[in-house]
């Protein structure tokens, strides 16, 4: 009786399992298939050799990396002290304050970037003169909450007794930070980095809206999509998938299991 019962309960996940297979796994397999075939359906490596032999596309890859690394570092520099202060300064209504920092991520990002663009136009005049700077500002503006949130969670978990113990044992404030606080916040740092690094390699709309006409990896997919070139589009998707896979493998080693806090505040 009991066995039969458990069997029926676990069957509830069937629709979702089927859904995931059909619309998450299958599309990825199709991408792989398209990436290794040409218009005639023949197996080929050409899509990849063309990508890696072409200085333009390699330039795009490098530009994406530069842009996303710069954005990530700036987000980290701004978010780290912010999250630290929010979590540890003992403000009354700490949670309300955190909400103030997180709230913008529920406003449609295209509208936020439009607002930013208006302000940048007033400040700079012709914004197309500073494409890289503006893109970094735009991406930072867009993704900062996603960096603050995991950092805040990891600071909140930090055991105060450890800090006291360290200072009782003779460490000064700087050493306490360096040897206790910083290492314990690594999961937060890593999960924040993944949340900013990958989107800022692919979110080409921010660049488009701020008149930066240089391509990043995402723009390549966008332009192949407009050109109905599914094979090269799939090839770029696969390159991105591999990058994402590597980043995930690396970060999984650092992150702690239950702080998967991406966008989960409410």
């Amino acid at each position: 009786m009991k066995l039969k019962l458990r069997f029926s309960r676990s069957q509830l996940c069937l629709p979702y399992a089927v859904f995931l297979i059909l619309f998450v796994i299958a599309p990825l397999l199709v991408i792989i298939y398209y990436a290794f075939t040409n218009g005639q359906g023949k197996f080929t490596f050409d899509n990849f050799t063309n990508f890696f032999a072409n200085s333009n596309t390699i330039g795009t890859l490098l530009y994406s990396l530069l842009l996303s690394l710069t954005t990530t570092v700036i987000c980290l520099i701004i978010a780290y002290p912010t999250a630290y202060i929010l979590a540890r300064s003992g403000f009354k209504k700490q949670y309300v304050l955190l909400m103030l920092f997180i709230l913008p991520m529920w406003i449609n990002f295209t509208l936020r970037i439009t607002a930013l663009k208006e302000v940048l136009t007033v400040l700079e005049g012709n914004i197309s003169l500073h494409p890289f700077l503006n893109s970094v500002i735009g991406m930072t503006y867009d993704f900062l909450p996603f960096m603050i949130l995991p950092l805040y969670t990891s600071f909140l978990k930090l055991d105060k007794n450890l800090l006291e113990a360290a200072s009782d044992l003779g460490a000064n404030k700087f050493i306490v930070f360096l040897r206790v606080t910083l290492p314990l916040s690594v999961p937060g740092i890593v999960s924040g980095i993944t949340m900013v690094l990958l989107p800022s390699m692919t979110n080409y709309v921010v660049l488009d809206m701020l008149y930066n006409s240089t391509y990043i990896m995402g723009s390549l997919i966008g332009s192949y999509f407009s050109a109905y070139d599914w094979h090269n589009g799939s090839m770029i998707s696969l390159v991105l998938l591999i990058i994402i896979f590597i980043v995930t493998l690396v970060t999984n080693r650092f992150s702690d299991k239950d702080s998967d806090s991406r966008r989960t505040v409410l």
Partner: protein
């Protein structure tokens, strides 16, 4: 001194975060056609245009309908999926968790492109049927709903379910009257998250939408490329309304959850 620095730092970051949104909000109530431009009088013209212009009204309505519809579908699928996975064997659960994680870590560009290639190019499902668009949005949202329900399932007291069975409830009754009610906070927050993700999406929408249909994101991106001032300033009004709505929702949710906590304390 330290506290003063903390306050100043938080103040600066908050000011930078909200400055563009607030400037746009102020200008949305004037007749100016660009930020920094001359204001001759205050006006509600932008707000009136927002609802008088058929194109804008349909676009907003369509966006909301798509978000709520796909969030509902995602919530049903993912809730059943999470319950089923919770009572499944360990390996089955692990496989489901990994498949669920794919859209979470994947770049939205790649998710959108792969769904497009499978459904529209390979299977030939017409974009005009809205099927690829809705499926794309469910793929985007459902994994996050799943992730917000799993922790609630782990907190469940399994004895309650067994007790219900011992007292004569059928497995289905026990599931719907004992297990499901305890999951409601997770389901609700998952649903809210799904709605905001769908509202914020640009990439999946672009790759799967019918050419005549626009969501806020795709509409705004196209509008910034054009030079229609009336539409541009009406979008300022939209951005202000969304900002106010988000503030109200966040305040209400927090008051509600504070009350719930108070209740459980008593």
């Amino acid at each position: 001194m330290k506290k003063a620095f903390s306050c100043v730092w938080l103040g600066i970051i908050l000011a930078l975060t909200y400055l563009p949104i607030l400037i746009i909000a102020v200008y949305s109530f004037t007749d100016a056609n660009m930020v920094g431009g001359s204001i001759s009088s205050g006006s509600f013209e932008n707000y009136i245009n927002l609802f008088k212009n058929d194109e804008l009204r349909n676009m907003i309505f369509g966006t909301v309908l798509l978000a709520v519809g796909s969030a509902l579908l995602a919530t049903i699928l993912a809730t059943l999926g999470a319950i089923g996975a919770h009572y499944s064997k360990r390996t089955q659960r692990a496989v489901l968790n990994v498949a669920n994680q794919v859209p979470v870590v994947n770049a939205d560009v790649v998710t959108g492109f792969s769904v497009c290639v499978l459904l529209i190019i390979l299977l030939g499902i017409g974009k005009d049927t809205f099927v690829p668009l809705v499926i794309g949005h469910v793929v985007l949202c459902a994994p996050f709903v799943y992730l917000s329900i799993i922790p609630k399932l782990k907190q469940l007291d399994n004895n309650l379910y067994e007790a219900a069975l011992d007292l004569g409830a059928t497995p289905a009754q026990a599931l719907f009257k004992v297990v499901l009610p305890q999951l409601i906070p997770g389901i609700l927050s998952g649903f809210m998250l799904a709605v905001t993700l769908s509202l914020d999406d640009y990439f999946i929408t672009t790759y799967t939408k019918p050419s005549t249909f626009d969501t806020i994101s795709t509409y705004v991106v196209n509008a910034t490329k054009g030079s229609q001032t009336e539409v541009k300033t009406a979008l300022w009004a939209l951005s202000t309304l969304i900002f106010l709505l988000v503030v109200i929702i966040v305040v209400v949710m927090n008051v509600l959850s504070a009350r719930r906590k108070e209740k459980t304390k008593k």
